[in-house]
């Protein structure tokens, strides 16, 4: 377990964590403000990636593809909100789960029909395709640094938006006391449209940014969705700060666990069982973490005030 490898994996973990935060941010806002469980949030991430691939083929420019994909994803998200979601806000959580599950099934198949079942690729912008030397003997892909940086910037912007602006104040108030905010004359539905559209775009943004590293394929949103839920539950539902810290925590624990679990087990185990057990423990690690957190803090690490 060399030091350089450790640094590389830590950066990879950060990059993964930042990605999770981009997705979890929208999820926790929507859940916090409208108490709406949106399983279809993960397919927005998938859709962002697919749309970027399509617009890239049309324009040949990554930046244009990114902008067009965000716009299209926003439009699609608002269409979903208008046709389906707004009829579900005052429904039971169970019913929300099923309706949004239905949308997942539809869209996963839909992208297969439109773009084919085979994985697609999105080339990254040429200027950012190389590697950079961070330390002697440590080279790292520039694109991953771009992802980390853009996630941190989005986090900062979100923090300022939520804690310093009027809309942010309403969102915070809406997340804990939706009825009172509504009684004070705020159109909570419109507020939610804004929050929802914003969250949708963040998820799509995550999808576009990761597309050059991962392959774009049907169902790619499903596993990420579950991880995003793990993030918001560990962080405390409705808490943006909690989502940020939990996302980085999950990203690091998962990535470092996968790279070093076998080595760690070998410290007190024979090599061969360590090789068998290691990967299993590594993939379970974040769920173990979640169970532990919820056992000791049933409302998450940073429960939003007024909720619990």
């Amino acid at each position: 377990m060399s030091f350089t490898l450790f640094i590389v994996q830590t950066l990879n973990g950060l990059q993964f964590g930042v990605l999770l935060f981009l997705i979890a941010a929208g999820l926790t806002l929507v859940f916090g403000v409208m108490d709406f469980i949106n399983l279809a949030h993960g397919v927005q991430y998938m859709l962002g990636a697919y749309l970027a691939v399509m617009f890239y083929a049309l324009t040949g420019s990554f930046v244009l593809a990114l902008i067009l994909a965000l716009g299209a994803a926003l439009a699609f998200g608002l269409l979903l909100e208008f046709t389906v979601f707004r009829h579900l806000y005052d429904r039971d959580h169970l019913e929300q789960v099923i309706a949004t599950f239905g949308i997942i099934i539809f869209l996963n198949q839909g992208v297969k029909v439109v773009w084919g079942a085979a994985p697609l690729n999105l080339p990254m912008p040429e200027a950012l395709a190389g590697t950079v030397q961070l330390m002697p003997g440590l080279v790292y892909p520039v694109w991953r640094l771009v992802i980390i940086a853009s996630g941190l910037i989005v986090g900062l912007v979100l923090y300022i938006l939520v804690s310093r602006t009027r809309v942010g104040m309403l969102v915070r108030a809406g997340a804990t006391h939706a009825r009172i905010v509504s009684a004070l004359g705020v159109d909570i539905r419109r507020l939610f449209m804004i929050v929802f559209g914003f969250g949708t775009m963040l998820a799509a943004f995550a999808g576009v940014m990761i597309a050059p590293i991962l392959s774009v394929e049907p169902g790619m949103g499903d596993s990420v969705l579950i991880l995003a839920f793990v993030v918001i539950v560990i962080g405390g539902i409705g808490s943006m700060r909690g989502a940020f810290i939990a996302a980085l925590l999950i990203g690091l624990v998962d990535t470092l666990g996968r790279s070093f679990m076998i080595d760690i087990l070998r410290l007190f185990m024979a090599p061969s069982p360590a090789r068998t057990v290691g990967p299993a423990i590594a993939s379970m690690l974040i769920y173990v973490l979640m169970a532990l957190v919820l056992y000791f803090r049933p409302a998450g690490l940073f429960p939003a005030k007024g909720r619990s």
């Binding site: 169970l94 019913e95 599950f101 997942i104 099934i105 539809f106 499903d222 299993a280 169970a291 998450g300």
Partner: protein
């Protein structure tokens, strides 16, 4: 949050429900005769799957509909039961005198341990923590290299009884499954209307009040969770026998989601709705898949429409239609 859903059955309707339930079981008992005229093994297999998932869905309805405990990890119990059969089989133990109780026991034990942790939370946190344990079981199954890992494992044979290959005949497996489904239904119905069940249901409405009256709500809920887990194991035992194959996919979170959908599909808090829902879900899948390769394009929106327009599921829909007809 449960108040918007179908209320528990009142005594006035219970007579009619008994008839409906008997009719459901009678229809299921007749399926093998009808199947003899068609693609027999295909139809038998399909309906065995329907009944297996009906048992698992019954358990989910018991937890969600009566206990207010929405579980998103119930497929893990089914998978554990199935893996128990497969692993015992790989070591030459195929007698159901051993594997059936073992499958139930393993799942019930897992339910006891995880339930102890999960039941500390409630609401959405409960949904997520049950999901977490479901995922853990899923990943453990995928790492069982000696038992197929991610690819799954084929059973050496179906379960035997005192050395006899009783399940060699598809019909025998079919009727055994039907018998166990009926047993599961009767068991849960008895539990729901027992003194235990009244406390369990009371905790759904108002856990604080139940605790104030002096009931140890946590203990009641944990017993309920263990019962549901054990039934999941029973479903797993049957599923392994029906497919003669077990894989981690049995435990994926999508499977747990499907079980909830079946229950909502049929109608929450009715028990028999879970059976109707499982049948409707699997048969609809089969029919739509027969029409088009892209059946999910129809199936997905259908789920949305059902939630939007058919509250109370199929059972609720039938009740509404009947009410309109009798009024008019």
């Amino acid at each position: 949050m449960m108040s918007t859903l179908a209320p528990a059955t009142s005594a006035r309707h219970s007579g009619r429900i008994e008839i409906a339930v008997v009719a459901i079981f009678a229809l299921l008992a007749l399926v093998p005769f009808a199947a003899a005229f068609g693609a027999q093994s295909f139809i038998l297999n399909l309906f065995v799957r329907v009944m297996v998932f009906a048992i698992a869905a019954l358990a989910v309805d018991f937890l969600c509909g009566f206990g207010g405990l929405v579980t998103f990890g119930h497929a893990a119990f089914v998978g554990l039961g199935a893996y128990t059969v497969a692993i015992a089989g790989a070591h030459g133990i195929t007698d159901m005198g051993v594997t059936l109780p073992l499958a139930i026991l393993v799942s019930a034990l897992f339910a006891y341990v995880t339930g102890t942790i999960c039941l500390r939370t409630s609401g959405v946190y409960f949904i997520m923590i049950t999901l977490a344990f479901g995922q853990m079981a899923y990943f453990i199954a995928g790492s069982l290299a000696p038992y197929g890992g991610d690819d799954g494992i084929t059973l050496p044979s179906r379960s035997t009884l005192f050395g006899l290959e009783v399940f060699k005949d598809d019909r025998a497996l079919y009727y055994a499954t039907l018998g166990l489904l009926i047993a599961a239904y009767l068991l849960l119905r008895a539990v729901v209307y027992s003194r235990f069940g009244r406390v369990f249901r009371g905790a759904r409405e108002n856990p604080t009040r139940m605790a104030t009256i002096g009931f140890d709500v946590f203990r009641y809920q944990r017993i309920g969770y263990v019962i549901a887990g054990g039934l999941g194991g029973l479903a797993g035992f049957l599923l392994a026998n029906a497919t003669e194959f077990v894989s981690p996919a049995y435990m994926s979170w999508q499977r747990s989601g499907e079980l909830i959908i079946m229950v909502i599909f049929g109608g929450l808090s009715t028990l028999y709705g879970a059976i109707v829902g499982a049948a409707a879900y699997l048969l609809l899948e089969e029919v739509l898949a027969g029409f088009t390769e892209n059946w999910k394009l129809i199936f997905g929106p259908l789920l949305v429409l059902i939630v939007l327009f058919a509250r109370g599921g199929i059972v609720g829909l039938i009740t509404t239609i009947k009410a309109r007809l009798t009024r008019g």
